[in-house]
């Protein structure tokens, strides 16, 4: 079991951003995390990756407890935060080498070249990150998430703000990565879910309202349009 979450909660004073959710994610499958803005998607991802401390509950990533074995757990996770924060004053290669060093990788230079090729950054590899367009920054974000070849990838809105060509490229890349990793992506785009996700979790006001495979959820609601199901569950 790559990710297992039990009764995970995050409260801010009285507000329950995430309210006792439980789910599991399996290797080789891509899990789509859906929900309206403010539903708790990012908060959940931030707890899994160790940025936020859960108020209560347990979560394990590759059998490592995210609180008591946080450093070990973090080594197994590749994370792309929302809005792709990057050190924009650094050069692409310099930044990726830095990330590689934080994971204490060997042969960093060759690994950096590998991921640059993998995410299609080759034409821009000698530029400063601040010079890159949004699409290429997104690729840098993905490259830093996969540089240590993690078992688990957590991507928070990896395709927001991309043009249709870039969308297709990035989706294909995520799909490729999902073949042997556990991938969780959050998104608002229903076509994207249809295109790449195997499983779906819909979250609303901090609670899980649906957790099923893509086919399963369509069958359960006798609906072929994911958009309709989403509206029904969260509106």
């Amino acid at each position: 079991m790559s990710i297992s979450v039990k009764n995970l909660s995050k409260h801010y004073d009285q507000q329950k951003a995430v309210d006792s959710i439980s789910f599991e994610a399996l290797p080789g499958r891509i899990l789509g995390f859906l929900g309206p803005n403010g539903a708790g998607k990012s908060t959940t991802m931030r707890m899994l990756t160790g940025y936020l401390m859960p108020t209560s509950g347990i979560a394990e990533v590759s059998n490592q407890n995210i609180i008591s074995q946080s450093i070990e757990a973090k080594k197994h996770i590749g994370y792309l935060p929302e809005n792709t924060p990057l050190y924009t004053e650094m050069y692409v290669k310099e930044f990726l080498s830095f990330v590689g060093e934080t994971y204490k990788l060997n042969n960093i230079a060759s690994r950096v070249d590998e991921v640059i090729k993998l995410v299609g950054l080759t034409p821009e590899q000698h530029k400063k990150i601040s010079m890159l367009s949004k699409g290429y920054r997104q690729r840098v974000g993905l490259a830093q998430a996969i540089i240590h070849n993690p078992d688990v990838l957590i991507l928070d809105e990896p395709t927001s703000g991309l043009d249709p060509n870039q969308l297709v490229d990035i989706r294909a890349l995520i799909k490729e990565l999902g073949k042997n990793k556990t991938v969780i992506i959050s998104t608002h785009i229903m076509q994207e879910v249809e295109a790449i996700c195997d499983d779906i979790i819909i979250i609303n006001k901090g609670k899980i309202v649906a957790n099923d495979s893509l086919e399963g959820i369509k069958k359960a609601y006798h609906q072929d349009s994911l958009e309709e199901i989403f509206r029904k569950l969260t509106a």
Binding site: Y51, L52, I77, P85, L86, T88, F98, E101, T102, Q144
Partner: protein, 241 residues
Amino acid sequence: MYAVFKRELFSFLSSMVAYITIGIFLLISGLLLWFFPDTSILDYGYAEMGGFFSLAPYLFMFLIPAITMRSFAEERREGTYELLITKPITVSQIIVAKFLASLVLVFFSLIPTFVYCYSISKLGFPEGNIDSGAVIGSYIGLFFLGAAFTAMGIFASALTKNQVIAFVICAALCAFAFLGFDYTSQLPFLQNFQNSILSFGINQHYASISRGVLDTRDLIYFITLTVLFLVFTKVTIGGKR
């Protein structure tokens, strides 16, 4: 931890931060020490470094906040802190790495001033007649003072996402730690505690080391002060999760 330290130091050196702060430090101390007649060593007539060492803490009060203000404030504003903390590094390692990178920069700003020391010793009569014990002691004192100010700056930067606020808080903290206790001790109703209040201030310990007497109590004072503010930083950053 080394990766973060290296990145921080390179970002200082590849941006203008390092050159401008060190440059201004050298410009002001050079002008005051050699050029303006009121404070110039040449007009003073005694070949000693005392002028520089009494001036440097005041320059550090403005330069160190300028170096440290970005460390956490900028990362948290840009969101890169999320990137950093989700790597397999602990909060303590990040804090120490940032502290050391800033401290190295402070150290870099001191290196060129060895030229002053050399020039003054050449100006002495007979040549080379300089109180080397006091000079070495003062440099050690200044370095420890810089370390304490840097820790305060890192702490101030952790309090806010706004770099200007971080700068002002740090400058105020440094000024208070350096001078505040001296002034407080002069209040009439605190007369009885004057000595103990004075001993909380940086000034007394700095002056004591500057005499060339390395007292372990002074060193312990500086190390405690530095570690204390790094611990405060950890509590502040940790509390925001």
